[in-house]
Symmetry: C3
Subunit: 137 residues, 3 copies
């Protein structure tokens, strides 16, 4: 069994953002030289998440609009106070998904034609990081 | 370490559908002869997902109703246009979950009593496929 | 490759509850002596789920309020009848997530600073169980 652990840093300019990280995951899989295995893409935070969706950029705007309507930034959250006001981000992450596991077959990340790996930021404008852990043989 | 990769094709008659695929996953686990490991059930698309839920069929209708109310088919989505109109499917998949990982113990898929593995289709009536990847020893 | 399977029993006093199970998962990882691998935290039911979120207790109340508004306990669910009335629990689990996979690096569960593993109960007041499966080397 072999493994490779890579931490990637990310800082978004906006509070909410969705960033295509597919190439970073592919690079980690290539570097690992693992032929058959799983790769876990795992944000080290609780106000960001990782999910698979379509490559089309206009869909990302639809997703951000949808999430703002479903989990408004401003609401009567108990978690929000003088020091922090990010309850919406914690709930959005829970709804859209925190981390994901992907297949590696024959030495490459096995994705569908339009599948894109996204890092979704719900409380950005500061440095965060996500782990890519490849495990297999 | 051993692995088995199986691609299953699926075409639903309806645009939205939820299909019990538990037996296919069990068969792949048996064929792999893996005693201890994980199985990843992974749709190759971004308008379908896999999740675990109860075996009761009436619940599936409740889920479809709930999703239609939460993420309406027709809304003012930027992603929708003359060639494609499936933004609802992309968002539903994000909400209900894209893929799932299940445990294998002592050579069998280790499921709770009522646990059923579902392939959820949000943009059907055409051929799609999902991967079952078994990994372990 | 090594593995460790641990089943933990849990009974909540309330119908809906969110319980911190981080220490149980850490203990299983330590007991497994696995240095590099994945741990799957997997409820054996379809009305409970596992997710990662912030350690702050007031956020848990926000989450419970949010879920009650999004998926009301009482609604016109087909699944509900004289014997069972837990359709809301099945749908909440689908929305918030059923199970999760976490990284093990250098012999320890690799969590972000505030990351906490929660068992979310949507139909409690009876004994349930969740599996912690550690796999790696």
């Amino acid at each position: 069994m072999k493994t490779l652990n890579k931490l990637f840093k990310i800082t978004t300019n906006k509070r909410y953002d969705i960033v295509n990280i597919t190439q970073n995951v592919k690079d980690a899989v290539a570097e690992s030289k693992i032929k058959e295995g799983f790769v876990l893409v795992y944000p080290m935070h609780t106000t960001s998440g990782v999910f698979i969706n379509d490559v089309d950029g206009s869909l990302l705007d639809d997703i951000i609009d949808f999430m703002e309507k479903l989990v408004p930034e401003d609401s009567d959250y108990r978690h929000n106070g003088p020091h922090e006001a990010n309850a919406d981000g914690h709930i959005r992450q829970m709804i859209a998904g925190h981390n994901t596991t992907l297949p590696i077959i024959d030495g490459r990340l096995f994705l569908g034609t339009w599948q894109t790996i996204y890092y979704a930021e719900y409380d950005g404008q500061r440095e965060k990081d996500y782990l890519v852990k490849v495990l297999g043989e």
